[in-house]
């Protein structure tokens, strides 16, 4: 049942120009940065050879690719997620899902999985670029795996926030604004709060701030090739929390309160 809805969402995404435009722009922006990095790397190579333990091509070229993707996700996920519930409400098609023998959990997870499939596809296409480097060199597969895991966890938490925003309104564009606003706010909290709180010796608020800042978690750990299970837990916790909020929101709409 979840799969049925996920496939429906994926098809609806590709039926609109939005998905294609986002895929194209992501590819253009990321490949421009990628080529520039390779250029720099080739130029710097003689100097790098003189350093005793030089950073490899993965850290210098591939990591920035995923940092760029993380930034792009911040802008695009709210746009991709905005229509998930809001548009069904606006077109009055939500009734069909509500009258079908489905639970709210099925509906929310189905929609979330549909969006995640799309994001997986988007990240997958971009990942072909680093693999192209194998033609002329070696890759640090450990770092690459960490980057991929981190970016998907990041995408999942962004998608959950966007989905929740979409349950708040019947206007997709308003949903996108709310989603983007929430993500920016979380980014801000991550930038400042987590480290500050920890320095002052308040571990619990610091941990909360860390949960709320998936982008910072990604940059600090996964992007450096560090697999930190607490960061994995933080991302999953954030994702689940917003999915639960979305489910509760839909239940409340049925109660009409």
């Amino acid at each position: 049942m979840i799969l049925t809805i996920a496939v429906k969402e994926l098809r609806a995404l590709f039926a609109s120009p939005l998905a294609w435009i986002i895929l194209t722009l992501t590819q253009l922006i990321v490949s421009y940065g990628f080529l520039q990095r390779i250029d720099n790397f080739v130029e710097l190579q003689p100097q790098l050879a003189e350093i005793p333990n030089p950073p490899g091509v993965t850290a210098l070229v591939v990591t920035p690719v995923y940092l760029t993707i993380a930034d792009i996700l911040l802008f695009t996920v709210p746009l991709l997620a905005m229509r998930l519930i809001a548009e069904e409400r606006r077109n009055q098609t939500m009734v069909m899902l509500m009258s079908a023998p489905l639970s709210m959990i099925d509906i929310v997870l189905g929609k979330f999985c549909g969006l995640m499939l799309f994001l997986l596809l988007a990240v997958g296409i971009v990942t072909l670029m680093p693999f192209a480097l194998l033609l002329g060199g070696h890759l640090d597969f450990g770092l690459l795996a960490s980057l991929l895991l981190g970016i998907m966890l990041l995408a999942a938490s962004f998608a959950a926030v966007g989905l929740y925003a979409s349950t708040l309104t019947a206007q997709p564009i308003i949903a996108a604004l709310i989603g983007f606003g929430l993500l920016l706010l979380m980014l801000l909290v991550g930038e400042t709060a987590a480290d500050g709180l920890r320095d002052r010796g308040w571990p619990v608020p610091a941990a909360l701030a860390q949960v709320l800042s998936p982008l910072k978690n990604f940059i600090d750990t996964f992007a450096r090739g560090v697999f930190d299970s607490s960061c994995v837990a933080c991302s999953l916790l954030l994702t689940v929390a917003f999915l639960v909020l979305a489910i509760r929101r839909l239940d409340a709409a049925r109660l009409g309160d």
Binding site: M96, S99, R254
Partner: protein, 329 residues
């Protein structure tokens, strides 16, 4: 011997398996719902048997749509119990909803899908598994007369076909109960006739609840009618019962040179006389009397110029207006 016995045995097993299909498909007791301070639906009860078409009738804002939203689990009632085929809709919503098909006021259509894709999705959402699903979709297309447009995008179809797609979506999984909220609204007269005959056909296999404010629709299609007003049931009976309701007995009397009204009402056996137009009067009979003969005699003797004498029929419209207007006063 044995082959036929085995077949009989199998059939018995099959009937045992499917036998406990309860006769009462929808049962709602004391449904209530308010929006803020406004009581939209107030202690409505309704019951429906298999193969019955119930018309839910009422002026705009009577609470028909709210009632239907509650019956289909789209809106949680604030009070009351709903059972669909004996299953509590509030306690076990996913099981109960499997027996339901719902066409809301605004058909829930995905405009970017073709009719066939859309019906396939509807069947999937109602857990119709694959080998059965293909035939179910084909049947729904056939029944709703969508064969010619099955591969076209829903967004490009005319309103009539969109409405049919909406109905097809409600019946594709062969539910026990079909709930249709104003299914003929916005259609042209030919389309209305087609949709009505489709609904009559559905009524043979399913229980159908139909809401409308178009009165002839109820007379033409439904077995029973329930009239709602301000969230209350003001009338609930069969169509035949409806026609008898408040009918009393009366005739329409047409006179070329009518006398004073008081002269007419003075005739023995006439309970009341009221003018319908300048020359036509509605004459109500007193209990246990039939002054028709006397009316004719008076008309001839006094040269009133009798032009018309017809039994007045109580239409559903009379009853509707009577029931829904009195409470406004």
């Amino acid at each position: 011997m044995r082959a036929s016995d085995i077949v009989a045995q199998c059939c018995d097993d099959a009937t045992i398996m499917t036998a406990p299909t309860p006769d009462i498909t929808v049962s709602a007791q004391g449904l209530s719902r308010n929006f803020g301070a406004r009581q939209a639906v107030n202690a409505i009860s309704l019951e429906l048997k298999r193969g019955e078409i119930l018309g839910l009738l009422g002026p705009n804002g009577a609470g028909k749509t709210t009632t239907m939203q509650m019956l289909t689990g789209n809106l949680a009632p604030h009070g009351g119990v709903i059972r669909i085929c004996g299953i509590d809709l509030i306690e076990q919503p996913t099981i109960a909803k499997a027996h339901l098909g719902y066409l809301p006021e605004h058909p829930p259509l995905y405009r970017e899908m073709t009719v066939r894709e859309y019906l396939d999705l509807a069947a999937q959402l109602h857990r119709v598994a694959m080998p059965r699903r293909r035939t179910a979709v084909a049947e729904a297309i056939e029944r709703c007369g969508l064969a010619g447009v099955a591969s076209r995008l829903i967004g490009a179809l005319s309103k009539g076909f969109q409405q049919r797609a909406g109905i097809a979506q409600a019946i594709v999984h062969a539910p026990d109960v079909v709930i249709l909220d104003e299914p003929t609204v916005g259609l042209d007269p030919n389309q209305i006739r087609e949709i009505r005959s489709l609904i009559r056909e559905l009524g043979q296999n399913y229980s159908v609840v139909l809401s409308t404010h178009i009165l002839p629709e109820v007379e033409g299609v439904c077995d029973r009618v329930q009239i709602m007003h301000h969230g209350n049931t003001v009338f609930s009976d069969t169509i035949a019962g409806l026609k008898q309701f408040h009918s009393g007995r009366s005739v329409l009397l047409g006179l070329r040179q009518p006398p004073e009204i008081s002269v007419l009402s003075a005739i023995a056996g006439v309970a009341r006389a009221e003018p319908v137009s300048a020359n036509i009067f509605r004459i109500g009979f007193a209990d246990d009397s039939d002054p028709t003969d006397a009316l004719v005699r008076h008309a001839v003797d006094n040269r009133w110029g009798l032009t018309q004498l017809t039994p007045a029929q109580t239409t559903i419209e009379d009853v509707f207006v009577q029931l829904t207007r009195t409470e406004d006063a």
